[in-house]
Amino acid sequence: MLTYQGDGFTALGDPTRRAIFQRLAGRPSPVGELAEAFPVSRPAVSQHLKVLKEAGLVTDRRDGNRRIYQVDPGGLQAMRAELDRFWTQALATFKEIVEQDAQEDG
């Protein structure tokens, strides 16, 4: 099992968080706008944003007295998260196959 803090893969495992992330990918938004767009409370949206931010998937900037959230334009963290998942799966399958072979071949 792969666990570490700020993991983008885990952060996007939650459907609401994923939906928020996808919306931000299309358009940077303040918390209030997100809370209107989703059937969750404003504190809940803030909590989701916090997790996404810690995972390096979104960034925020101040705009007057609002805070605007947007997908990390680097995109590196999202890519890393996906590749992490890809190789975790691949290596687990590899281990299974190679050890099965070892048993079969004696």
């Binding site: 990918a25 680097g74 890519m79 992490d84 799966q89």
Partner: protein, 157 residues
């Protein structure tokens, strides 16, 4: 399995109960079964993943309709210790024709006993894929660059 990486790479380590020669052989000959099938750039289902076992060789998926996608190119093939290939897939989850904008994956196989091998995988230079997203940052529609990648990403989770 452990994970450790800097910002531009992904690193995994795994110990398998098999001799180093077999570990190398299984990885390079059966990549087809090892690679998660949900990663597919072809329009049709993947029929096979082929590894041409030499430096300069192609690593490609062949679809049921006969189409092919060379998603990687072998850079070093050194049994039983080292397997290095370029990663020819962009952040937009599309084939990357520009060799300068590809990341690379290195596998090192080290014996830890007659029947035990440590495999270290490093997917590095992810920043080389970066031109695309720098362009996106300055561009108007962030969703153009991201939508395909994200929908792909979401499908996988």
């Amino acid at each position: 399995m452990s994970t450790q990486a800097d910002a531009t790479s992904v690193r995994h380590e795994i110990v398998v109960e098999a001799p180093v020669e077999r570990a190398f052989r299984v990885f390079t000959e059966r990549l087809d079964e090892i690679k998660p099938r949900d990663h597919n750039l072809l329009a049709s289902d993947i029929e096979a993943t082929v590894v041409e076992p030499r430096a300069g060789g192609r690593i490609y998926d062949r679809g049921a309709d006969g189409s092919e996608c060379e998603w990687a190119t072998v850079l070093a093939f050194e049994p039983p210790e080292r397997f290095l290939f370029s990663w020819n897939i962009s952040t937009r989850w599309q084939f990357e024709p520009d060799a300068d904008r590809r990341s690379e994956v290195e596998l090192r196989f080290a014996p830890e006993g007659p029947d035990r091998t440590r495999v270290v995988l490093e997917h590095r230079h992810l920043d080389r894929h970066g031109d695309g997203w720098e362009g996106m940052r300055d561009g108007v529609a962030a969703d153009q660059g991201w939508s395909l990648y994200l929908s792909r990403f979401a499908d996988l989770i």
